[in-house]
Subunit: 686 residues, 2 copies
């Protein structure tokens, strides 16, 4: 719920405005003035007629109507002031920079709830509390610096943390990063990161909207909303990078103590970002470097030319890019390559990296870039490394670079390492509107992160042969806890997940009858104990009625055993599918190969339900053990399409059965087209 | 061979000195003057009586005696000039900054060889050619900027690449990194990175020498020398970080085209660095961040306190540190913790991270640091995060930090993110001699790199029961190519590597006789085909003479088969040991579990021969499949000490048999104390 009045207000009042610009209420007003808010600006301060030259009222009661209010007053006064403004002055936007709310105490939480109630009642937007404010093209309502000069095609930046927002801007600005807007959502009482993103999606205009969004998130409150709008924006041509802090256990503890919010499980975040197409970053420098990559033209492919006047950085960049899966192809021989070589000094190399030597000049750089852009089809983008040993300025070189950044069709990533020797030339290059990458390896890693983040897949749920009403009937009748094999079988049958034929024998006579029905060889397993193998509760390859009888007796004597499961003995490669329900995110699905590969080597990949066939296939392909699934050294593999379909069917089943909190299919046995679930555990919690 | 005259000359001549400081010969002289070389400074320039106020001679012939000469003249003149200086002026140090030598052409290589011959003949040191020069406390003989003001306890920095040396200094200086010396070795014609390190090892003085060394290496010419002196320096208390560029295949191509040197295989570099205790870095920013970590006191342990006035960066740092294996332990309850809490504002947290809020002040920071240093035994070091939203300066806080950096026993890592808002305060903090870390995650990763680099192990070769003369006899008599089982067995017996009993049968009669000798069950395998299993050339669990006879016939009919190997059938966990000879480095030894774990999942660890027991044990422990080796779910594991000993015995064997270029023991079978080699391939190339 972001109102026009919040983004494009005609009038703003700063409640708690001050002449002291070391105070938030003073600095915020100063920022509004310095950044030329064009509408009516007012202040509320009980002791002044004017604050910083702006007309001031002693209290909000006397104010004329005002569209946006910034509250810089103690928390306990905020709800009442907001009520007056919303009810009597028509205010539809609130930015509450005051702290002392839910992040501090239970009492503060109540005040925050009251604020939200006021905003909701009057359909007003509420940003904060406990935030630094927002910067839109209309107004800079923040109490911090720097206040970046906004650029329409800069990045939209939304942050859960005010201080971190400041530090991220301080990391980006010196590298030439521009901003189109900044939103610090603080405690996200009414408007969270997801809501701002939704707003950006709703108002997206392909002609005028920026295509880069940066997020700093401490807690994902509404994963569905984040997924929906991130995916939608990316499909519209946007690129999104985000930090979700709190990926480690201790980090989550720190995140919780900071925002008072429960941290989400990191695997779920990982899966969500991948599904949405969000480039995940882990630090400020990384985020702003990825942002600068986004500010360059998009690279259509993974083959880079490295253009350099110094060998070392080119080698390090090559290493970083190749480690990330990108390629530095050799430039193929051609008349154009020969012509370029003739323009360079003897000893230059027009292989790749293209090294035009320490003495290489501006004109030569122009020729190399043109050749890469027009002639060398084998490259999709260029990194240009040009520093200075400090003998003379390099402004002419950077001017060529500046021009080519605008005219070339392929992206150019400028690496300008000489932040001391040609400080002024670098500053001038940035002032011309360009980004720079001071460190080639940080660029290489950022490019790799971007390259390795898949575009979002289609989001249609696969339902062929999945009987949702039947799934619901089974779930609705199930009791909490681990389910009996019968329930598991019915669920699998309802979702079209193939399984081995099984029977549950309570008596020796039943066991013998089932053996006859299923045929030999058979498997017999205890029902009851959790780790069946550890207690000797699994018998494979049972081939006679006598063995059925003797083993039944032995198995029933194992503690906790309530019955014996009889099953046809399937064969093939052991596969694994697991799922875990994460609060708010839904089910994380894992797949891999069974046995030690999942238990010891943890070779699993994950995705967020519901999965598409394409997503499930990519999960399978990303397994380290993929080669075994394809078939290895004469052993028949499994049909991957079929394995993917089973994963997808399970994910569709789970989408309609959120009461299933945990489940494993371990193993499925697969040989060619035949893949069957052999054993499964499902835990329901309503 | 680094002479006193190179490092501490009483007189220097710049040959090719110029009044134009845009020229290397002009800038170098200027740097010598500006940095106050205290000895006699001279110039050679055919057209001037004085250059930049320094007396000049028309040619070297007329010069008085001079200890160090810097040559900034065309390559073709250098050998002759050097000869005159060395033979007639007593010059014992040469720094050749001219290019146009081996890096450019075959002709240049000859000039370079002549230069080296001159230097060697007169026992003079030669730095370069094709370098930027060196900076020692006595003289700044470089033609580039920046010329850092040297600090005795800054870092010694040695670089293969001049431009990269400049860019690394430009990366480090703004973060407060100090240098004690800088060596750019260029083409390393006589003196390479290893030789400078040797010199530093030889002159190391525990009272006065700096303990931090940084290396940028494009090619490791003498791995043994690098290993020896890096290890020696680290044992003396030094810390070394290095970039070895060219880790990827394409990167190596780039490195080769740059220096004209063959790139070393990256696995060997990795193993060498680990063995020496060198912290490996991959980029400039990473190297200078690790260097700044080294500039702080050494952390004795892995448990960090994070002290912050802002939540976000603390969470991201926690994530980065935990991902790297470090710990952020909760601060235990104690009267000291309670007392500290009372000094902080309400809402502060004295768990860990210790968050003293946006309003936290200098006095509180001092109290927190003191408590962490003195009272909180559960932490070994502190990261302090303190930026500014731009409301007021924070000089008082940084002054406290500055004082505590010097007085505390535990290391403090200062993270000052507000590079714009409190730029002057940060600059002042750096001017006081401190380092800073602008980005907490880059610090976290650097600390992790340092923490995860083991200290060097002892370097004694394990020889108990390894019969070196016998090994040499076998090798000397062996032909090139893959060896017969007999040769393999004799080598293993000589090194004390246990193996299954085997016999080679050429006829059915022999096969039957051996079966009787070895006893059943037996394994029979073809000799000849390389992938024995793929051609159906392995028969397990042979239990009768009839089977021996029939399988012998079948196996001999398989193409390329020359005989059949008969072996006792061992059982247990499949293990793997492999080795590969890398030119100049020696043997890289790999270990892991056999079968798919090595072939598909590539779960191997590596080390450089000769290995110690301790190194081999750590290779085993670092396997992903380590849990299986220990024993898993009721299956007996293997005695790790015994496995490590076999790895060490193999590495000792190889140390004396460099003719072995490749070998695999695959599998070894292990059960408890019994580990035996079942199959092995050894390729010799003399």
């Amino acid at each position: 719920m972001l109102t026009r009045e919040l983004i494009w207000p005609n009038s703003i009042v700063v409640v708690g405005a001050s002449n002291n610009i070391s105070k938030p209420g003073g600095k915020l007003l100063k920022n509004l003035i310095d950044n030329h808010f064009a509408g009516q600006l007012m202040a509320v301060n009980p002791n002044e007629e004017q604050v910083q030259g702006i007309p001031s009222w002693p209290s909000v009661d006397e104010l004329p109507p005002v569209e946006l209010a910034v509250l810089a007053i103690p928390a306990r006064f905020c709800p009442e002031v907001a009520e007056i403004l919303a009810s009597r002055k028509g205010t539809k936007g609130f930015i509450v920079i005051s702290a002392g709310f839910s992040e501090e105490s239970e009492e503060g939480r109540k005040l925050e709830d009251q604020l939200v109630a006021v905003a909701n009642k009057y359909k007003a937007s509420l940003i904060g509390p406990n935030c630094i404010g927002i910067i839109t093209p209309a107004h800079a309502s923040v109490f911090t610096t720097p206040v970046p000069k906004l650029h329409q095609m800069g990045c939209d930046f939304i942050s859960s943390s005010g201080a971190t927002a400041v530090f991220i801007m301080e990391s980006g600005i010196p590298k030439g990063l521009h901003f189109a807007s900044v939103f610090s959502v603080g405690n996200s009482a009414q408007v969270g990161v997801e809501d701002v993103l939704e707003f950006m999606d709703d108002v997206f205009d392909p002609e005028t909207s920026t295509r880069v969004k940066l997020l700093y998130i401490e807690s994902i409150t509404n994963p569905d909303k984040l997924l929906k709008h991130a995916r939608s924006l990316i499909r519209k041509g946007c690129r999104i990078a985000a930090i979700k802090a709190g990926s480690s256990q201790a980090g989550s503890r720190a995140a919780s103590s900071h925002t008072g919010a429960m941290a989400s499980s990191d695997a779920a975040v990982e899966a969500l970002f991948r599904k949405a197409g969000i480039v995940r970053c882990y630090g400020r420098e990384e985020l702003t470097t990825v942002a600068n990559v986004f500010m360059c033209k998009e690279m259509k492919g993974k083959r880079m030319a490295i253009i350099t006047h110094a060998g070392g950085p080119a080698v390090m960049l090559t290493d970083a890019l190749e480690a990330g899966g990108l390629k530095i192809p050799k430039i193929e021989d051609s008349p154009q390559k020969q012509a370029l070589k003739e323009k360079l000094f003897p000893g230059s190399s027009v292989e790749n990296p293209i090294d035009f030597l320490a003495t290489g000049n501006a004109e030569q750089l122009g020729a190399i870039i043109d050749a890469c852009d027009r002639d060398f089809k084998e490259v999709n983008g260029m990194a240009v490394i040009y520093g200075s040993p400090g003998l003379f300025p390099v402004g002419d070189v950077y001017e060529v670079l500046n021009k080519k950044m605008h005219t070339c069709k392929k992206p150019i990533y400028p690496i300008l390492p000489s932040v001391l020797n040609v400080k002024d030339d670098v500053a001038h290059f940035i002032q011309a509107g360009n980004v720079t990458f001071p460190d080639e390896v940080l660029l290489g890693r950022a490019l790799s992160r971007v390259y390795n983040t898949p575009k979002p897949h289609e989001d249609r749920i696969y339902l062929e042969g999945v009987d949702i009403p039947e799934v619901r009937r089974i779930i609705d009748h199930a009791k909490d806890g681990y389910q009996s094999p019968e329930v598991v079988h019915r669920l699998f049958d309802a979702a079209g997940i193939p399984r081995v034929q099984e029977r549950v024998a309570q008596t020796k006579e039943e066991a013998l009858a089932f053996a006859e029905e299923l045929g030999f060889p058979l498997v017999m397993k205890v029902i009851g104990p959790v780790h069946k193998t550890d207690v000797g509760g699994v018998v494979l390859n049972v081939r006679s009625a006598e063995t059925v009888a003797s083993e039944f007796k032995r198995l029933m004597a194992i503690p906790e055993t309530t019955a014996v499961l009889m099953a046809e003995m399937a064969s093939g490669i052991e596969l694994f599918i697991g799922a875990k329900y994460e609060d708010r995110f839904g089910h994380i699905i894992l797949c891999g190969m069974g046995g030690i590969l999942v238990e010891v080597l943890k070779d699993v990949t994950s995705g967020l339900a519901p999965l598409t066939l394409c997503e499930a296939s990519s999960m399978i392909k990303n397994l380290k053990s993929y080669q075994l699934i394809k078939g290895y050294r004469g052993q028949e593999g499994v049909n991957q399409r079929r394995f993917a379909e089973i994963i997808v069917r399970l994910s569709s089943l789970l989408r309609f059965a959120t009461e299933i909190k945990e489940m494993d299919i371990n193993p499925l046995l697969g040989k060619g087209d035949k893949i069957v679930a052999v054993d499964a555990r499902i835990r329901i919690e309503k």
